[in-house]
Amino acid sequence: MDSKELIDLIRPCKLAPTAEKRRLLFEPVYRYAFRPVWTYLRCLNQSPDRCGDLCQEVMVRVYLFLDHINLDANLKGLFFTIARNLVVTSARNQARRGTGVAIEDVPETTMQAWLHAEKLANAGKAAADAIASLTEDQRTAFQVCSVDGLSVEAAAIALGWSHKKVKNALERGRKKLRKRLAAAPELAKALGLDLRKKAPRQTARMIS
């Protein structure tokens, strides 16, 4: 969705005569902006609970100031600016108490940030769909070994499976994921994943 479509969503909210109508019209704005704002806040190292609170705060502010929003301005930037300012305020308060991140670590809001967050949100959907296509065993093995970083031996002990079962589930899961990600080569490239089939092992005889 581009800026024009976002303006088309916000304009009726601004012009709605009743609060009830405003509220109904505001829903598509919320659904459109929630994920990019969430992703942006996660990129700022906010916890999921904190992200939920901050996302709501951003939406409340946009709703409160609907009448004052300039539709000719960069609307996408508006959401991120509000989110960033909330994080900065929170970081400043935490700095006073001697906890939390430094304010310098909070990046500037730019159009790039929105595009990056949108891309990340789309990539997240593709990744979640790909992982959802795995069987339960394959998903478990992938989560434990690839995401949580346990070795096959440690995963076998943790899950109570045999070493072979973990290894097979992991390999089959990765094979399936490679197939799925072939449809999204940009994502695979961004993640640095090699989608080609595994190269055959070189035996000692071949080397000599």
């Binding site: 505001f26 992982i131 970083g149």
Partner: protein, 118 residues
């Protein structure tokens, strides 16, 4: 970072957002329909047309449904001492420590009883 790990984390973050989007909207929808948002503004000096801050014009706002109860945070380990039911009400000049520490259910001798014994 390992590409597979990144893939897993991307999916995890996406699912986190998925889980929260609907519940967050349910809370927000109730909130923006509530009286807090109907305050008068420059554009609407009398408040919004159907705002409940205009007594007599409309009925007070009734939420269409109950918002889901917020689950307690896992890291919230605060605990507050509860007064036992048979505890006498704290009077002026009481030390707060004695009020909370004497919560074993046993009656402590009051000043009046002490005076009678004497």
């Amino acid at each position: 970072m390992n590409g597979w790990r990144q893939l897993g984390l991307l999916a995890r973050h996406w699912r986190e957002a998925e889980d929260r989007q609907e519940s967050s909207w349910a809370r927000l929808r109730d909130a923006i329909g509530g009286p807090f948002f109907y305050r008068p503004s420059k554009q609407h000096p009398d408040g919004f047309l159907d705002g409940p801050n205009q007594p007599g014009l409309v009925e007070p706002y009734q939420p269409a449904f109950e918002s889901p109860a917020k689950e307690p945070r896992k890291d919230d380990t605060r605990s507050f001492p509860l007064l036992p039911t048979d505890q006498r009400a704290p009077a002026e000049g009481d030390d707060w420590r004695t009020i909370f520490e004497s919560g074993s259910g046993e009656d402590t001798p009051s000043d009046d009883e002490d005076q009678h014994k004497k």
